[in-house]
Amino acid sequence: MNLNLVEFISPLTTLCAHSAKFSARYPIHVILVSLLFFAATYLSVIQYYFDGWKLDSTSIFASPLPDLDFFFDDCTHYCRKPYSNIWNVLETEDARSMISLPNHYYLLNLQFKTNSKDSKSLNSISFANDTTTFPELNGLIFDSNDHKYLLQQEPNIPFELISSDGKKWRLVDNGVHFFELQHLALSLYNNFISRIQSSKSFDIFIIGSAYMMVVFTVYKLFREMNKIGSKFSLSLATMTNSACALFLALYSTQYITKTPVSALSLIEGLPFLVVTFGFKHQVNMARYTLGQFKRIGLSKKSTPERIVFDAIKAEGSSFIYEHLLSIVAFVGCTLYASHLEALKNFCILCSFIATYEVLFTMTLYSAVLSLKLEIDIIHRSTVIKQALEEDGIIPMTADLVFGAENTSKNSKLKSNFAVYFIKGALTILFLGINLYNFGLRWASQTVNFFYNNPSPVISLPEFIQTSSISILDETVLISVTPVQYYQQLNMYHMVEDGLILLLRYFSIAISDRLVSKVLIFLLIISLATNISLLNATRIHTKYTAAELNKKKTDSNNFKSLKSNSSNLSSEESEEDTNNSTSNNSSISNSTKATDNKIGSTKQKKKNTKKSGNNNINKSDKKLETKSITDDEADDDYSEVTIDNLETYTRPLTELQELMKSGEAHTLKNKEVVSLVVKGKMPLYALEKQLKDSTRAVKVRRQAISLLSDSSVLLSERLPYKYYDYDRVLGACCENVIGYMPIPVGIIGPLIIDDISYHIPMATTEGCLVASAMRGCKAINAGGGVTSVLTKDGMTRGPCVRFPSLKRAGACKLWLDSEEGQNKVKKEFNSTSRFARLQHIQTALAGNLLFIRFRTTTGDAMGMNMISKGVEFSLKKMIDEFGWDDMEVISVSGNYCTDKKPAAINWIEGRGKSIVAESIIPKDVVEKVLKSNVKALVELNVSKNLVGSAMAGSVGGFNAHAANLVTAVFLALGQDPAQNIESSNCITLMNETLEGDLNISVSMPSIEVGTLGGGTILEPQGSMLDMLGVRGPHPTNPGANAGQLAKIVASVVLAGELSLCSALAAGHLVQSHMTHNRAKPATAANGSAPAPAPAAINNEELTRLKEGSVTCIKS
């Protein structure tokens, strides 16, 4: 029993989902506003924690605006009481109280460094030697070669000095970078060690574990996001989302509730919070969203905001529930332990974080998801369109295609480069901003800040301590400053100066009142442009999605318009006498002319008696009814013959005129049929003339039935309704009269290379699916199928002829040479983005040369693609490569070999070459397959190997591979004729050392595609969707088709295993005996009926046995 509180918050979830939907609709706006919030809070929080952008004060004079307070803090203060000779070190606060003393001096220690080329130190800087000339300084009280001490009441040293030899000296930051890094590392290490030593080991263990869990959580986030298809962007977005929540919460606690959380509390507490909240829900939302995207086709009207809305509805409940619980817990803790300030403040922070996390997830993260989806959809739609064009689905000229491909190739390259460039630039910019703000030395300050390390004590120089200054009667305070380094001016400084000047110039320019306004204006323009671009791309996506259904929609619209107009006009004629103020008069008027043209021998049967108002809905309903009635009347061909057809229609000449004027679609069906049967309108032109594919099919059926004098097509025995013929035309079939339904069964789950599939099979052979299903069961029990794609290349073998054998031979040798191969490859590859010529194989027969091109074809089966490439390559051979006497006999010279039995496919392979194997445990063979391993192996050798060899088979060393291949091909929109070579298969079985069965199928020529051909039809496409291999693979062209080939081979494996087992088990006899026993028949849910009839006489039984044996033999 679960306490299901999640359901109680469903209204809140819905509200959040609406918020997410809004954000998804305007992603750029939301992301921009969120990031602005983030940036503002980030800067405020960082400023708070790092104490007003505290920079390295030791180089304070290098700054144009030195902060003397910070400088004072970094000094070591020595005080000498009146009449005393002892210098005491003072705390900064004590020293500050004495700052107004008249005898307060700053002792500035200046150190001069020179550039030494022969220095052995790791850095190129060393301290000055005796020969160096140093600049003259005022107020010098002590000089020790490169060390000079100045005593001043106000610290003031020049930024640059010039020595007598003309050399310039520049005040530089403290120390050398390398030393500083070393120092940073050392100080970090020392602090860490001292912290560890002062802490209890168990505390360290707890904090250490928490941090390790954080690392694991982040790693898991990236891994999970990677799994669902986002390598970087969504993981980063998720972390940014949480960071936004954190910084806004910190800002809220610091400036709104005034309950700041110390850095130490954050360091100790945050890891626990990060692990507890985790990123699971964000990952689930992303998974849902991207999963939905993978499932939707271009024809669906699922928008990104809708998907995001659904994602929040589906996955957001538990997210909100957990965060609400957390908020309750933290608020409760705040109230309960209000006197424990650290705990209270931390709990307030956590409750803010939880709240903002929900807020940002419903806005920022949703917007990012939507944007990701938009980009993916745009990418996918473009890829599909291009791929379809390449496969010849949308007719385009070769030049156009070629041009488009070149452009797209370049643009793809550019876009990839641009994406990486932008990613890199953003990262560098982010780091740059931080480094610039903090200075390169920020880290040591940060460490000092966190660990409260006091500034190092600077000892008082010897010359002061040992000086013979007489005892004074006043208190003297000397603030010894950290060492200030001067360095000789060099090229580095000049570059630095240039950069600083440039930056300063920019900062001044930006802060200018006019320029700043212009910049803001430009920013707004840029934002608006981005939004417009996104909207434009959305329009493009919608256009692409609508393109596939455009014709259908148009024709449907036209049909309804026609229906409406014809009915409205009839109604109008009636109603005009009573009331001419019609709401739809404009429609009727516009259509009236058409009606007049086509004549009005129609629709006078019914007149509605409803007067007065013209309710459109009501009239529509009436019109629909009427239209159907008219259609039915129009479809009545019971008494119609070719001879008397004209009695039902207008004169043929009038119809011809209307047809010529492009008004054929306004004719009645019988009139169109009349035109067809009289040979005035060709059958193939019906779709074009009628502008409605379904109506064209219907008219064609009527015309054919009259022409063939058969009424079969007038009935609906061959169905034609409810089918998307727009996809068929120009791609799948011509002269369409309907579609042939084939039963589709399903087998599975079948585990293929760790993934479980349900595979559809279209067949009319009973028992085939059941047989394959048994095979699946056995294979799964053994661990599934392991498959390997050994070769992938579609082939086309044109036949060319030369005037002489000599020339033919020379061409063969040239094509076989590296030069020839490379030249042809280059030309061939230029015709497509996916086609990459792998090899050219040649064969000579007399002066006939056969050239077998083998190429990759992406995810398309690829015959169109390869044909285009072959034609182009042959043209180039004739025009440019010196084979102008070559005569192309045929682009396909049967050396491919396509859809014909041929040894070359069996030996060389064609399409995808797959080897699949499975280990079936002994007991599974016995229990599931009801056979035994030894019998199976023996049967396989006898039947599939020896038997086929005796029959002189080529590629037929299997039991019934073609059965499975064809069934799968039909269900998945593959070319069924290619089952000839696709069914080439050798089935091998062995007994393993453990006594298990090792079965494998090797299929060298599986020809499949997930794009184009029958796959563009919705039913077949949906089956491919079910397998997750529809369309082009987003990242790895050809991967989907390769996977489909593996699936085909695996199904064959299942079928082979099952059938061979049944044969080996001798179920044939058993089956006959079953018939003999005459069991009562049982059939459930359309499954195959049990074989036993109630009574079979002996004569029938004998006939059955003989027939069965005959069947098996055959």
Binding site: L3, G291, H339, L343, I747, G748, S756, H1075
Partner: protein
């Protein structure tokens, strides 16, 4: 009804004709009668069983019901007895390790008032004493702590099995275990480090937090009752052991610690044996 019967009769008749006239596909005559019964749910059971087995160190399957792809192992799915034994051993080993770590945690739990170091380990030590006395002191203490881990880990799955309690499998994953461990460590850290006014205050806060954590991680009544009963039992035993002199704050600590502990072990048990 009559029509239905009639149609059934016709169907049977047609079937018979089909067989008699040998229009029935050849394949039927090759296979046995059960061939059409292969498509049973045991196929899914096999796969699910193996998926669960593989999720021993992986995540629970996605809650998304729309996915048709089920991840599984490439290894031999035919689970042999040796495999099952090995898996069970691994699961018990994990529980044992958690048991030993839990004992260590109980030793390290203290606050700035009445809860002294090692106090919360008293019930665990009692179990060890019992185990050692039963085995005549053969087994070392750490093994006993391991056994206690196994006991805690198996308790909730056993209760689920006994009372036929259905759980949402996707609730339990390695992430949820990680979160539970994280929370347990976090609470321990908070109890140790914060300057509480009294032990009662700390234990009271923890008790309230426990309820939220139960809702956060699990939300099943069976878990709540089991954790509560175990917590109260431990507290009572300690009260008796300490001669009825314990402060209420101390006793509440026992309830808290063992409630949260069993919540962790319950999740772990359900993850390993149920999900």
């Amino acid at each position: 009804m009559k029509d239905t019967n009639l149609s059934k009769t016709n169907y049977t008749q047609q079937s018979r004709d089909s067989i008699n006239n040998l229009t029935k596909p050849t394949l039927y005559s090759i296979y046995d009668d059960d061939i059409t019964k292969t498509a049973s749910n045991d196929l899914y059971d096999t796969i699910n069983m193996k998926s669960n087995k593989n999720s021993l160190f992986g995540d629970a399957p996605s809650s998304s019901s729309t996915s048709l792809l089920i991840n599984s192992s490439s290894h031999n799915l035919h689970a042999s007895t040796t495999d099952q034994l090995w898996n069970s051993f691994l699961k018990l080993l994990i529980l044992s390790i958690f048991g030993i770590l839990y004992h260590e945690l109980s030793i390290q739990l203290y606050d700035n008032h009445d809860l002294k170091s090692g106090l919360t380990s008293k019930p665990l030590n009692l179990g060890v004493t019992l185990a050692q006395s039963l085995t005549l002191g053969i087994i070392p203490k750490w093994v006993s702590y391991g056994f206690e881990g196994i006991f805690f880990g198996l308790l909730i799955p056993c209760i689920d099995t006994l009372f036929h309690i259905k759980i949402k499998k996707h609730t339990y994953s390695n992430t949820s275990i990680l979160k539970s461990c994280n929370v347990l460590l976090g609470v321990t850290y908070g109890i140790r480090k914060l300057e509480w006014s009294s032990s009662l205050q700390a234990s009271g806060a923890w008790a309230l937090l426990n309820i939220i954590l139960w809702l956060f991680f699990d939300g099943t009544i069976s878990m709540f009752l089991s954790c509560g009963v175990i917590g109260i039992c431990c507290s009572t035993v300690c009260w008796i052991l300490m001669d009825w002199k314990s402060e209420f704050g101390q006793l509440l600590y026992f309830v808290d610690f063992y409630f949260l502990g069993l919540l962790l072990f319950g999740q772990l048990g359900r993850y390993l044996f149920k999900a």
